[in-house]
């Protein structure tokens, strides 16, 4: 009787630990679900690098692609920069607004970055990081997709691609306005 109990004791103790380790190794520690998905996007009031005021309120009724970036973010921000401009060109007449938020940066290198990629959509600095924290930004680049009703619907962590942007924007455009 005691022998049988002992035979099961070791697997019974080891298996849960192995299961926990397996679970831990399968999950990506950098992939943390945003609690903001499905909730109203935090309002913001920015002044773009061209000195134009821009608020989320102004964009009501539009689908907003909100991209957080920094000029020191190499290579991800540089990788996605051309795709952002292409996305803007492809969707600007379809009721989509692309907005860049420059975080933890200084003005000079940020302007150089914008000039280098010829970004023609509004870009604005977030000098105190208020907007970044309001959107629960961990690092750059991160991109949020806000629907016509002003709710955060998708979050993309890392360099955005044309395909990823198209997929999300198209699904939001299909929704009745």
């Amino acid at each position: 009787m005691r022998r049988r109990w002992q035979r099961w004791a070791i697997p019974a103790a080891v298996l849960p630990v192995l299961a926990l380790l397996a679970y831990g190794f399968w999950t990506n520690p950098r992939e943390i679900p945003s609690p903001l998905l499905g909730r109203a996007a935090a309002p913001f009031a920015l002044t773009t690098f061209d000195r134009v005021p821009l608020t989320l309120e102004d964009l009501r009724g539009k689908i907003v692609l909100l991209n957080f970036w920094a000029s020191w973010c190499i290579p991800a921000c540089y990788d996605e920069a051309p795709a952002l401009e292409r996305t803007w060109q492809a969707y600007k007449d379809k009721g989509v607004m692309v907005v860049g938020v420059n975080v933890q940066d200084t003005e000079e290198p940020a302007r150089t970055f914008l000039a280098r990629f010829g970004h023609s959509f509004p870009n604005a600095p977030d000098p105190k990081g208020h907007i970044a924290v309001d959107y629960g930004v961990y690092g750059v680049p991160e991109t949020f997709f806000i629907d016509r009703r002003g709710r955060v619907r998708f979050k993309h962590v890392g360099a955005l691609t044309d395909e990823a942007a198209r997929q999300r924007l198209d699904s939001l455009l299909e929704e009745p306005s």
């Binding site: 943390i32 105190k128 629960g136």
Partner: protein, 152 residues
Amino acid sequence: MIPVLVAVLAVSAALTGIAGAASPVDERVVHDVAAQLRCVVCQNLSVADSPSETANQMRQIIRERLAAGESPEQVRAYFVEKYGQWILLSPPKEGFNLLVWVVPFAGLGAGLVLVAVVLRRWTRRPAAVPSTPVDAAMRERIRREMSGGPRP
């Protein structure tokens, strides 16, 4: 190197001074709240301990919110609302999270019980071993050797 360090320290001291002068917030409360929050760009560092720019901005946000009249709990709740419970260095003691708080102590207790049981068994075992029966030939040999008789 040293002049650079001195300059950095002087600038940060000046900045802290400005921030301190601008708000009547108790810096210990700012530190308390920041110490409970995980620095989002670091590995296992709190917002209070991290020298990163992000943590610096977060400390400033904590300071501003406290200055605006929010309680430390409300400031904490703001960060949890934006980042989820992940931002808290110690998970709240409720629901599934309770496991994190209970399992280590339960494991320790179970281990102590196990050690106690095993120790008792080990210390008792010699007494429990039955003595080998002594047959007649052995008895005779013992008797002979004890009495100092001739050895075979």
